[in-house]
């Protein structure tokens, strides 16, 4: 059966698929933040093994293509004899990938807190956990917000790769609609604009937050 697609039909189908891009981005970001926190505490903690393991994890996920990680999640989970749906492989790989980047971003923020702050907290008789909770994290959190928001944009763009292992989101919908309409210029142009509409507010708010939250530091 042949069907005529108007530009409106194309846009409607793409927007419907964009819901999956948004959902997968949210799942990856929230899951990645939780795993990332775990990696962060291993990375900056006192245990030597934990630090080495966390550093290796970050190097592994930052030093290999996200596409390979998706393939390995897709085929690797299959080795356990379960039938892996594309969304599961996509979410697993994206969560692990996001965790590595967030852990590294946050480590930079914790290490940006001056040594004297640790020493001051220790001189008040605080233990490691208390130093973290009351002195270091509140300050680190402040500088961590802009780069974290900025990285959320990378997650949205990263979800585009899940189309390659067959998860139907915005990019995959773009390919499918192209195959049905033979209008790649219009379709991929619209897909790009929808991604732009999703990412641009994130990158702008990251820049704005950076200016706003940095204000007290700009005096010296």
């Amino acid at each position: 059966m042949m069907m005529e697609f108007s530009t409106w039909d194309i846009l409607r189908n793409l927007l419907l698929a964009a819901r999956w891009t948004i959902l997968l981005s949210l799942v990856s970001f929230i899951g990645g933040a939780l795993v990332g926190l775990l990696i962060l505490f291993l990375r900056i903690g006192k245990g030597r093994t934990g630090r080495v393991l966390a550093a290796g994890y970050v190097e592994l996920f930052q030093g290999t293509p996200l596409l390979m990680q998706l393939f390995l999640a897709f085929f690797g989970l299959g080795l356990f004899g379960i039938d892996v749906p594309a969304w599961l492989a996509a979410a697993t790989a994206l969560i692990l990938w996001t965790a590595a980047f967030l852990a590294e971003i946050w480590r930079g923020c914790v290490e940006a807190i001056r040594r004297g702050q640790w020493e001051a907290a220790a001189s008040l008789g605080m233990g490691y956990i208390q130093q973290m909770r009351w002195v270091i994290l509140p300050q680190a959190l402040r500088i961590a917000v802009p780069p974290t928001v900025g990285f959320s944009m990378q997650v949205v763009k990263g979800t585009a790769l899940t189309s390659i292992i067959g998860f139907v989101e915005l990019s995959k919908a773009g390919s499918m609609v192209t195959n049905a309409t033979f209008q790649p210029f219009t379709v991929y142009g619209l897909v790009a604009l929808i991604y732009f509409a999703l990412c641009w507010p994130l990158s702008k708010s990251s820049q704005m937050l950076e200016r706003k939250l940095n204000a007290p530091h700009s005096h010296h």
């Binding site: 996200l66 390979m68 085929f75 390659i164 990019s171 732009f196």
Partner: protein, 222 residues
């Protein structure tokens, strides 16, 4: 888990893997060369160029930075031919990587240019240099040196991102892995090997760029 790993196919497919590595290296070499040149040009216009010339470059940078590389690649390879601009797989991959890196490196290099102390421009002007000569001889090299680590990381990121050019059938390392697993059905092993090679390439590329930095900028920054 009763799965038996089998890596005995590596010897047979070694030439294919090597050819894939060569294409990936060629892509990042050309992509980095053209992309960084594009980035320097855009950064110069955005930081110091005439006001009326800036908006299109701002639009270029924002458009590229806020859309996925995969879509940029598809737009160039599948979209542009319908308005009469056609590329081979490799040309499209090279172009997409250069355009992508151009936008990111523009922002990075611009930060380096804007960190130049005012006195440097005044010193250039007092030696009767034109604004362009000042940029070329006084501003650009220290600016590049300042942001070299950030630029190196971005080049590594683009190299890793190049894995998706296999989707338009450019025969890079990922394409080789796809081909191998379609022949011997050893998907997990094929991608593990490709992943390990990518990890090695990214480590080597990072070291190579650090060495290049030392060679290009022998003088320490003040």
């Amino acid at each position: 888990m009763t799965y038996q790993f089998d890596f005995s196919w590596i010897a047979e497919y070694l030439p294919l893997l090597l050819a894939g590595i060569a294409v990936t290296l060629e892509l990042i070499f050309v992509g980095a060369l053209v992309g960084v040149s594009l980035g320097i040009t855009c950064a110069w216009i955005r930081a110091l160029g005439p006001c009326w010339l800036r908006p299109p470059f701002v639009a270029y940078v924002e458009l590229i930075r806020n859309t996925p590389f995969l879509i940029q690649l598809f737009f160039i390879f599948f979209g542009l031919p319908s308005i009469g601009v056609q590329f081979s797989e490799l040309q499209a991959a090279n172009l997409a990587m250069a355009v992508n890196l151009g936008a990111y490196s523009c922002e990075i290099i611009r930060a380096g240019i804007q960190a130049t102390p005012r006195g440097q421009y005044e010193a250039g002007a007092s030696l009767a240099m034109t604004p362009f000569e000042t940029f070329r001889h006084v501003v650009m090299i220290p600016a590049l040196q300042r942001i070299w680590p950030a630029l190196s990381s971005q080049i590594v990121i683009v190299m890793l991102g190049s894995a998706v050019v296999s989707q338009i059938a450019a025969e890079d390392l990922t394409f080789a892995a796809n081909y191998i697993q379609s022949r011997n059905f050893r998907a997990f092993e094929a991608y593990i090997v490709a992943t390990a090679i990518y990890l090695l390439l990214s480590i080597l590329l990072r070291q190579g760029l650090r060495g290049l930095g030392w060679a290009l900028f022998p003088r320490r920054l003040p």
